[in-house]
């Protein structure tokens, strides 16, 4: 775990998985021609200013195109009614509206919602959408932050992903020309495999091989297309090299990272990757 003053153990500590360092992210919202591929982009860690700039931009490119995003910010206003929570979050770079709907508010969900009060830091996962000419994040998961190193981590991840897309893959000429993103040792501390980072089990998507293997099962075309989701046992059957406990632990991690979500009941999971 992340220790005070000790630096990061790895890029996966705070749930930033899902980033696909594609040069071809596309854009799901711009007036420019949209492609199906653009809807398949990975999870992007962003600052609110990046979202606001993207909303204003007439021309989108790989650097300022977002659809599936994660943000970290402080709640400034919150309104709740009929299983719907509308809040504004502020991260110092801007303020953004977040809309969250839960079809089934059980006790645990009610307790989570009760925690979302002004002044509370949250991590939001969701899709950027335009609703009545107002941009907002349609959240599919909101989590209260308890370890505030996550604020640091999130912003560094936003920098890393931006630099990764803007400057190219690690080892490319552009990346080598500016190692460590401005000379700082941050990327190395994070164990991210880019910008001078040491080789690591964790890839550019923020996942270990094990996590990627399990996520791969959820992202098989047949399972993306199906609506009923997979149980831990079903995933384990497809991965005979892993124990049930390993699969269960990874599934819990992928849930926290919003790579997968529950469907129908709490035992069936489905990839958040759009099919």
């Amino acid at each position: 775990m992340y220790g005070g003053g000790g630096g990061y153990d790895g890029a996966s500590q705070f749930g930033g998985g899902g980033f696909i360092g594609s040069q071809n992210d596309g854009d799901a919202r711009s007036p420019a021609p949209k492609s199906i591929a653009s809807r398949k982009e990975g999870l992007r860690a962003v600052t609110i200013k990046q979202l606001v700039d993207a909303n204003k931009a007439e021309h989108h490119n790989d650097v300022n195109s977002f659809h599936n995003v994660t943000c970290v910010g402080k709640i400034t206003t919150v309104r709740e009614s009929n299983n719907i929570v509308d809040m504004s979050i502020f991260d110092g770079t801007g303020t953004y509206v977040v809309h969250f709907y839960s079809s089934d508010v059980d006790d645990a969900m009610a307790q989570r919602i009760a925690e979302w009060r002004p002044g509370v830091y949250v991590r939001v996962y969701g899709n950027v959408s335009d609703f009545d000419d107002n941009w907002r994040i349609q959240a599919y998961n909101i989590r209260t932050i308890t370890d505030f190193n996550e604020v640091t981590y999130h912003n560094l991840q936003a920098i890393f992903q931006h630099a990764h897309i803007a400057k190219g893959y690690p080892g490319s000429g552009a990346a080598q020309a500016q190692p460590a993103a401005g000379g700082a040792p941050v990327a190395q501390q994070q164990g991210m495999s880019g910008f001078g980072g040491a080789p690591d089990d964790i890839g550019n998507d923020g996942l270990t091989n094990l996590q990627r293997q399990v996520l791969g099962v959820f992202e098989q075309p047949a399972h993306l297309a199906a609506s009923d989701g997979l149980t831990v046992e079903q995933v384990a059957q497809q991965l005979p090299n892993l124990t049930l406990k390993q699969v269960r632990d990874v599934v819990a991690f992928l849930m926290d990272n919003a790579n997968i979500y529950t469907v129908s009941d709490e035992h069936h999971y489905k990839s958040t990757k759009c099919d």
Binding site: G4, T93, D147, V151, T152, H162, G182, V186
Partner: protein, 106 residues
């Protein structure tokens, strides 16, 4: 409360560039006397914060406020960051957010 946009994340070194403006200062609280707190910024610089409310619950605090002098901040809001916060890495973030990657933040 209304939050000013942008409110950049600063350490002691970058705080002086924002005199008269709003910033976010994550710091370690050393002592509190009356409505003034003596704090240490992520890069080790010492700052005096004029508090909005005197009780400070945790060692690490994110103060939002107006820079009145290179080493003085007037608080407008705060968030408690607990007792375990890596100031060294946060300092790296402040440096990157105010230099190479400022366009993502301000």
């Amino acid at each position: 409360m209304d939050h000013v946009v942008p409110t950049p994340r600063v350490n002691f070194q970058t705080m002086e560039r924002h005199i008269g403006k709003n910033v976010l200062l994550v710091c370690k609280v050393e002592s509190v006397e009356g409505n003034r707190a003596s704090v240490v910024a992520a890069d080790g610089g010492r700052v005096v914060v004029s508090l909005k409310q005197t009780a400070v619950d945790t060692q690490f605090v994110e103060f939002e406020g107006t820079v009145e002098a290179p080493n003085q901040l007037r608080e407008t809001d705060r968030a408690y960051f607990g007792g375990n916060f890596d100031m060294s890495t946060y300092n790296d973030l402040c440096r990157l957010a105010n230099t190479d990657f400022v366009s993502l933040f301000v």
